[in-house]
Assembly symmetry: C2
Homo-oligomer: 244 residues x 2
Amino acid sequence: MSQHQDLAGQRASGSRRGKGGDGAERHEVIYRSISDAIIEHRLKPGARLREDALAEVFGISRTGIRKILQRLALEQLVTLTPRRGASVTRPTADEAREVFEARQMVECGLMPAVAQRLDEQSVNALRELSAQEQKALQEGDHSAAIRHSADFHTHIARLAGNATLAEFVERLCFRSSLILAVYGRPGHLGCETHDHEALISLLREGRGQEAATLMGHHLRAVEATLAIVEEDQEAPDLHQIFLN
Amino acid sequence: MSQHQDLAGQRASGSRRGKGGDGAERHEVIYRSISDAIIEHRLKPGARLREDALAEVFGISRTGIRKILQRLALEQLVTLTPRRGASVTRPTADEAREVFEARQMVECGLMPAVAQRLDEQSVNALRELSAQEQKALQEGDHSAAIRHSADFHTHIARLAGNATLAEFVERLCFRSSLILAVYGRPGHLGCETHDHEALISLLREGRGQEAATLMGHHLRAVEATLAIVEEDQEAPDLHQIFLN
DNA sequence: GCGCGTGACAACGTATACAATAAGCGGCAT
DNA sequence: ATGCCGCTTATTGTATACGTTGTCACGCGC
């Protein structure tokens, strides 16, 4: 999909170009591919991401892959250990707590502004996202459901009109997806879509403060479904185990 | 020229480890060097950062420089235009507004937690930073004052115990420094140190809510000293100029 | 029999070489 | 004289080659 700019590019460049239609664009696509795979749990936390394997899969050299990997590392979706390569980040319990605390502060704080600026078109977009999420849930498609849920929260944040904060929320949502992968209990899914619908209604009626309260409860509810316990970390702390 | 890295090379070559005594560490140092120069306004917004010039200055190849430049770009301290190279970011007026709005939300929101967790040692550290800032101001050392002010805000945020939010605040402070460089009026400096001292006192007494209020006023005051008007952007909008 | 040292392999980090592109400039035509 | 076009150059983007380092396995010594 979205090849509608191909013809424009063709005409403009006079088609003298070599293989890479648009180099920078291709990197963006690859970035999204990997990012999506992580967020949708097709790549699980801890999975190793070897540079040359990725380079071969996507048909570019390791140089490009490294650039993408570094970007993902700065967004804390992958962990880059100095001479051991890249792997999908496995969030610690502390990080999980931090991420939800941050979401609590920012997403709730954004609600009043969203309630003020919301227009009918945005309401429809949100409803669409919420519906897609519910549909995915009913079909048992975990990957899609998680993705749509993150999209919903990100989209709402964007409506407040502050791109900086919206981007921050987006990254928090991505990390939340990782947290769900590690600490989520198999039965429960992350977000109750019922909450999402209620949230839309409150926002539509301009009741920003109540929306903030609901968002707070919603996030707390999601966090409560998690089993946030430090799994056996790599350093099992033999002292504490055997010297007691 | 620029053989000042000989000492580093000397020690490294003395051992068997090959030249790069600690490769990753060196990159970190270079990153900090450039980052500091930007934050302290020794590199002004709009300044071009050519890859091979930096490579020569720091004695590494362009590959390493590019990695650092990309990191700086993701933190929005430098702008990377596709085939034109890197330059120090010149924040737009919108970005300025967004950054201060974000700081308002997060830094104020952090105050209660800081007030709760503050211990005597941290108070001393904060006082030290505030004193350094004031000293730099009195000596007319703009660079140092700006840096210490950013350090102060970052440090306070860190005390809330949420590394994720603290890192976000740090990045906002860095960007604020850029904003000051572009929109700051020559006379005024960013932060009134008096506010900082008062903030410490409130926090020390555990009055988190009042500290949040003060922080809010403080940030608004800083923002008010700015002349946030869109300067002549690259498209001077000839229509509006001549067709009126 | 078990632990440790050494060697081979594989993966990453760095540098360098090459290709592609946009800007600057001079010449040429009108 | 002026505007346009092609060439040159400077600078980034990409790939590949090499060096370094961490890991694993095999063998030796205790």
